[in-house]
């Protein structure tokens, strides 16, 4: 069923860069007020025909008419975003997709790389039992942006625990919310094979529109033929319903 979305210009008011990651703070009054943890926005930096499409980003935090994105520099749009100066304005569509259900402060949050974004929003709005985040390596200042009590895991062990965040799950936890790269989600699926129902993942996908009209994104249904739309049925799904 339809959700209300809007197009809104946002002004970059602060940017913090940590190697290939960055936190971008925008004055975006309307969307920031409406967006819930787990939802995303479509971002278009320049009003030009190339690159043509906007790009989806989960919201890292939103409060008081201000919205933050946590982004890894990977392609053209993210490179343009990293090059943006404060005071410049870009176009947003949002809020898009479904949100994490407020499951209270006992939930286990697990995020890898830029996938930590929607979980950080949940953690700061509703609290958490455990909040595991995984990055390849230590980056100066990066870990200060997360709430107190976060469990940091680095692949090379240069900071916090060594390995991957899924290494530190028993599989018997209650509700788990996760977002991260495909290998992390696959390992989560194994760990939580007896508990997939209570394991919710936020999926990343290439999207044409971000709000369910182009049929360009999809994830296979686990129990039947066909696909869910990542943008409008998700991006959050119970692992028991999807096959990745």
């Amino acid at each position: 069923m339809p959700r209300k979305i809007r197009s809104e210009r946002g002004e970059l008011i602060k940017k913090r860069i940590f190697g290939e990651f960055g936190v971008f703070t925008f004055a975006l009054p309307k969307i920031a007020e409406e967006v819930m943890p787990g939802q995303f926005v479509m971002l278009k930096i320049k009003d030009e025909k190339d690159p043509l499409l906007a790009r989806p980003f989960s919201v890292f935090y939103a409060e008081d008419k201000v919205l933050e994105l946590f982004v890894k520099r990977v392609g053209r749009t993210t490179t343009e975003l990293f090059a943006l100066n404060t005071g410049e304005r870009v176009n947003f569509l949002g809020p898009l997709g479904n949100a994490f259900k407020n499951a209270g402060s006992s939930v286990v949050l697990i995020g890898g790389g830029s996938g930590v974004a929607p979980l950080n929003f949940y953690a700061r709005k509703y609290g958490f039992g455990r909040f595991l985040i995984g990055f390849p390596s230590y980056l100066e200042g990066l870990f200060d942006i997360f709430p107190d009590g976060v469990d940091i895991v680095t692949e090379d062990g240069s900071f916090g625990k060594k390995g991957y965040p899924t290494d530190y799950l028993s599989g018997d936890e209650g509700i788990v919310y996760a977002c991260g790269p495909l290998p992390m989600l696959r390992s989560l699926e194994k760990k939580r094979s007896k508990n997939l129902e209570n394991t919710y993942v936020s999926l990343e996908s290439m999207m044409g529109c971000g709000f369910g009209i182009c049929a360009g994104c999809g994830v296979k249904k686990r129990k039947e033929e066909g696909y869910f739309r990542v943008c409008s049925d998700g991006p959050i799904f119970s692992f028991s319903r999807i096959a990745i």
């Binding site: 959700r3 979305i5 499409l53 044409g208 009209i213 182009c214 360009g216 409008s232």
Partner: protein
């Protein structure tokens, strides 16, 4: 002032959303004012439910987008039972797009829609580049196309448009078939067969290897096709489609003779924009001190 009449059917203005670029038709109903539009075309309906093609189905190219969605839809039964009751309540004209794998399927689909709905206009999709059977294949042979169009025309008196694949060489013969079959308009054009390659993965960018190119990249070619067709058939209505991203693009199509203009890929990027185009068109006409009728085909006669 922006009204367009095709036979006995009146469109509030010439701006229409293209099939496959506006979902089932109601997704944006709570976000934007649908009554601003001349009409909307929900995603093409087929007889049976179609899951669509495997992913990836989309790849962005310079100023364009290639899709191989594969007519994903819930089928006619679900359209009539679930989608149409919602669409009926929207404050906008609905145009139904249909596609069949056989001539009989087209006829059956149309019979069901005529019987079960009050929809006044049907767009016969003869141009989907992304299905194994039907779609584009019916437009390849003019005799087959004529046979199909005549059988469809027999089903109903309601307004019928034939949406053809783009062709810069043989389009005139096909449009002649559309005209002689008693159709009310031709839609020019659908997407262009296209492919793209991912050099890192050393593979095709789309799971189905190729798809249909849309977006600003195609506008000059689709504009050329409309121009050529209008020169050959000055009195036959054309619904133009392809790459519109601004009111200037809308005007371009009208100046070469289009009665109506479909807006497609832009809806993905700027969903709010299509709703402002009618007012922008009115402003343009005011500035030029001309009526819509006066600029339509201005470059053709």
């Amino acid at each position: 002032m922006l009204k367009v009449k095709l036979r006995d059917v009146e469109f509030k203005n010439p701006i229409i959303t293209a099939a496959g670029t506006f979902g089932k038709g109601y997704e944006l109903a709570d976000s934007f004012d649908l009554s601003k539009l001349g009409g909307i075309i929900p995603k093409t309906i087929t007889l049976k439910k179609r899951a669509g093609n495997p992913f990836p189905r989309l790849v962005e190219t310079p100023c364009g987008l290639i899709n191989s969605i594969g007519l994903e839809n819930d089928g006619i039964e679900s359209f009539v039972k679930n989608t149409y009751p919602v669409l009926k309540r929207l404050p906008v004209k609905i145009i139904a797009s249909i596609s069949g794998e056989t001539i009989e399927e087209y006829v059956e689909l149309l019979k069901i829609l005529v019987l079960e709905t009050d929809i006044e206009v049907f767009e016969i999709n003869l141009s989907c580049p992304n299905v194994e059977k039907g779609g584009e294949e019916f437009s390849q042979d003019v005799e087959v196309l004529t046979d199909l169009l005549l059988k469809i025309r027999d089903v109903t008196e309601r307004l019928l448009w034939a949406k053809l694949p783009p062709d810069v060489y043989g389009i005139i013969d096909r449009v002649r078939a559309v005209v002689s079959s008693g159709f009310d308009a031709v839609v020019l054009s659908n997407t262009y067969r296209a492919t793209y390659v991912d050099v890192d993965k050393m593979s095709y960018s789309l799971a189905k290897e190729h798809g249909g190119l849309s977006g600003p990249a195609i506008l000059p070619v689709s504009l050329y096709i409309v121009k050529e067709v209008k020169k050959a058939f000055p009195d036959f209505p054309v619904v133009a489609s392809g790459g519109v991203f601004s009111v200037e693009d809308v005007v371009r199509y009208i100046l070469v003779g289009a009665h109506l203009v479909e807006i497609g890929t832009m809806n993905f990027v700027k969903p709010e924009k299509v709703f402002t185009l009618p007012d922008e068109l009115a402003t343009y006409l005011h500035r030029k001190k001309k009526s819509l009728g006066e600029i339509r085909g201005y470059l053709i006669s």
